[in-house]
Amino acid sequence: MKNLILAVAAFSILAACKNESEKKDNATAEEMAKDQVVNVYTHRHYEPDQNIFKMFEEKTGIKVKVINASADELIQKMKMEGKQSPADVLITVDAGRLSRAKDEGLLQSVESEVLENAIPSYLRDVDNQWFGLTKRARIIAYAKDRVNPEDLSTYEDLVNEKWEGKILVRSSSNIYNQSLMASIIANNGEEEAKRWAEGIVANMARSPKGSDRDQVKAVVAGEGDLAFVNSYYIGKMLNSPDAEEVKTAQQIGLFFPNQEGRGTHVNVSGAGVAKYAPNKENAIRFIEFLISEEAQQIFTDANYEYPIIESVAPVKDIKAWGAFKEDTLGLNKLGANNKKAVLIFDEAGWK
């Protein structure tokens, strides 16, 4: 039996080492033809992304090497690696983190007509250090049987006492809530934003916990009537392998706030070229590919995000919700106000 353990151990160490040596082979290949690689640090942990990367490899012959971690950790890693950082592209799931990376001096401006023409200016950095890839809207899911959608109007109106004990929302440590708050600070000022946070806390049905999907489930379970949710999670729930989850998602109505005014808060998943990118040209080609029609089609079809380019229509589940007016606040503001947003959350007691 001991031998068996040893054999398995040896075999698996070999498996691990094999990968190491493969890595070395790549490194030598890298030296011979430096333009054949693009190193991607990404927070997008989505399976469909792998397919997009594969398409890019087939099309260009440039190999995509991926490090997956949360954006915060990736930014920390790039900071510490400094000039030696192998990162070419940083991808995050929100604009706030990208502007933080920019502020830390981790990204560089790039000139690309393709990107500038395709992406509306409010969805990319003013210095073209980062670009939106897909859009998500922060919307309200409501209980169809208990809420008349005509009673809903704006994010600001949710502090109205008629919603007391009815609002479900996740923790303020979540970046989507922080970005929403940052947009409210940018639009209404800090004072108003703080009053808003306090009003929401007063109207909460329960102490914040769980994920966006859990808030939607809690609406259907009757714990509250309204839930803050990211649009693409509803898309995912509607297509969930779990029949119960599909049923749950079908039972709620969706409302896009602030349609009469500035529009619904949107955030992007986006990408920027790293300051010390060893393969800058490849990095730009890679990001350009991510906003091509074929890539955008996969983003929306498989991950239920809104495409960033107009020529691709959203997948049918999302399309069914209709077009809506977006808040065109420059997303740079989200990063600039992020820390203020967190401080206000704490002061208001939004856990």
Binding site: M1, A15, A16, S70, Q84, D242, E244, T248, D346
Partner: protein, 554 residues
């Protein structure tokens, strides 16, 4: 009078210095070198302490800190109780009695450890959720389902206890299996009853081993991030992440980590203090095993259920939920790459387990062979890494290794060699990080078994002129084998499910199952995370079963 006292003090200081010179030997130097090597990342974090917290510290103290302290204390208190009850009772029953499926249950009791706690958290949420498994079952039976809300502080204490109690189980059982027989027989001869023997004799004697396990549990409880975040409970660790990433103040995060280290240090001192009061050594470590009793009737079933309960709650229920999810998602997620991935994770985990246990042995024995008594306490600094969140350790690792890398690049540059990072982004950095992080997991079970070995045996061997190393391999190692095997299993399992360190430090193209599970779970694809999670569990089962056989073999 007072003067005299001063004189005495001065005298003793001088004597102490003299003794220091007299007693220090090469083992003292080796110990210090190893401690320094392993504590380096912790030291780098500690140094940051002196630059003070960031500007939001006042804000944190005012709005958040009371909550962090209160919730962390709550978890420490309730997890301690639950873990002790579950861990000690099951360890005692499987060591003392023989009953149906005892052999299988002996290793099943270790397996709850193999499921990352945050996955157990998700699984329980899935069981009690609206539209969750319980809901469905009740609907099938046409019963009204009273929803149990598990996503709160009490629920978190339950989830963490149920997934971490095996630390106590493993160390308590190692004690009962190897130490208890003589005492039991003596107690039996004196006509003392079963219950009294356990509470008056076995429990006090097993205390060092039990507390060693408990300290590991509490370190992990304080360090938990995923489950606490999902359940909406703000603890020190969620606070560390909040101040680091949301408030954008790494210094404040480090400051909070340092406070956490202080708490852990207090726990370790407490353990030391209470072990000091119990001195018990046995020369014949695993010479005789307990003669198990075979209970009859109701008692038999009672014992059976008491042992089954933690297995049911910590393993069978969450795994059943994961299997249900795996069936739902198999068509989209399952991939044969998972088998390769399992082998890779296995290889990384077993290698790091061996490296970490090796370092633990070096520390324990070098400090023992060093005649300086305080060295033993210095050695303990090495185990603090377990209490620090992995992401923070990763920074502590990157500071020195990057500096070394940059120096190497510069040196090689002089020779016209253009090299990239040599240590960072390779398995070397990862293995180093695991050793720093999991040293405590290896150190505690070995140390508590090593404590039981009567010094007179190795001493007489040395008197006969046999060297330290030879004595160790010929005499001491066989006596502490059980502790060493337990340590290997525990570190192996911990590395299998380790996440934050792996994410930050892993090389390209090296993936682990835990990373795969996290990729899904972090995007609310909890169901999809079930398949890689199940692979972690099954891969972890292999060494648990095999090493367990080695453990109980005479």
């Amino acid at each position: 009078m007072r003067q005299g006292g001063n004189k005495n003090k001065a005298f003793s200081l001088k004597t102490r210095l003299k003794r220091l010179k007299r007693d220090s030997n090469r083992w003292s130097v080796f110990t210090l070198a190893i401690v320094l090597f392993l504590a380096l990342p912790i030291v780098f974090i500690g140094v940051e302490l002196f630059s003070g917290p960031g500007e939001t510290w006042g804000h944190i103290v005012e709005y958040l800190l009371p909550d962090y302290i209160w919730n962390s204390l709550y978890l420490v208190f309730f997890c301690s109780i639950l873990v002790l009850v579950l861990g000690v009772s099951s360890a005692w029953f499987v060591s003392r009695f023989d009953f149906l499926f005892r052999k299988q249950m002996e290793w099943l009791l270790i397996l709850p450890l193999a499921i990352p706690s945050y996955i157990v958290g998700y699984a329980y949420a899935g069981i009690f959720d609206y539209g969750g498994s319980m809901d469905l079952i009740f609907r099938q039976l046409n019963l009204d389902f009273v929803r149990i809300d598990i996503m709160n502080r009490a629920g978190l204490a339950f989830v963490l206890s149920i997934s971490l109690f095996p630390y106590v189980y493993v160390s308590a059982r190692a004690f009962f299996l190897n130490q208890a027989n003589n005492l039991l027989e003596a107690s039996k001869m004196l006509g003392v009853g079963e219950a009294k023997t356990f509470f008056k004799l076995m429990l006090p004697l097993a205390r060092p081993a039990i507390v060693a396990g408990l300290v590991l549990v509490l370190m992990e409880v304080l360090n938990d991030y995923g489950a606490a975040k999902y359940y909406g409970v703000n603890t020190f660790t969620t606070g560390i992440f909040r101040s680091w990433f949301s408030l954008e103040e790494p210094q404040t995060a480090v400051y909070l980590s340092a406070l956490l280290i202080l708490i852990i240090f207090a726990l370790i001192l407490f353990e030391k203090w209470q072990v000091r009061k119990v001195k018990f050594t046995s020369a014949k470590s695993n010479s005789t095993q307990i003669q198990r009793k075979e209970p009859k009737g109701a008692i038999k079933w009672g014992i059976f259920s008491v042992v089954l309960l933690p297995i049911l709650l910590g393993f069978i229920l969450p795994v059943a939920q994961l299997i249900y999810w795996a069936i739902l998602t198999a068509s989209t997620v399952f991939d044969f790459r998972f088998i390769v991935l399992s082998l890779q994770s296995f290889g990384i985990a077993i290698t790091s387990a061996i490296i970490t246990v090796f370092f633990a042995l070096l520390l324990i024995y070098f400090s023992k062979w060093s005649a300086l008594r305080f060295i033993k306490n210095v050695a303990r600094v090495g185990v603090l890494g377990y209490a620090i969140p992995g992401a923070v350790i990763a920074i502590g690792i990157m500071i020195p290794t990057l500096a070394l890398d940059k120096w190497l690049i510069k040196m090689l540059g002089n020779f016209g060699i253009d090299s990239g990072l040599i240590i960072n982004g390779t398995l070397i950095a990862l293995f180093y990080a695991y050793a720093v992080r999991f040293l405590a997991v290896a150190y505690n079970p070995i140390d508590s078994t090593a404590l039981k070995v009567d010094n007179s045996i190795p001493d007489s061997s040395k008197v006969l002129g046999v060297g330290n190393l030879k004595t160790f391999f010929k005499i001491e190692f066989p006596l502490i084998k059980t502790g060493v095997f337990s340590a290997v299993i525990l570190v192996f399992i911990d590395v299998m499910k380790e996440l934050p360190l792996t994410l930050i430090l892993k090389p390209y193209h090296v993936d682990t199952l835990a990373v795969k599970a996290f990729e899904y779970a972090s995007d609310e694809m909890v169901m999809e995370a079930s398949i890689p999670s199940l692979f972690i569990i099954f891969t972890a089962m292999i060494p648990v079963i095999f090493l367990n056989k080695l453990l109980i073999k005479k």
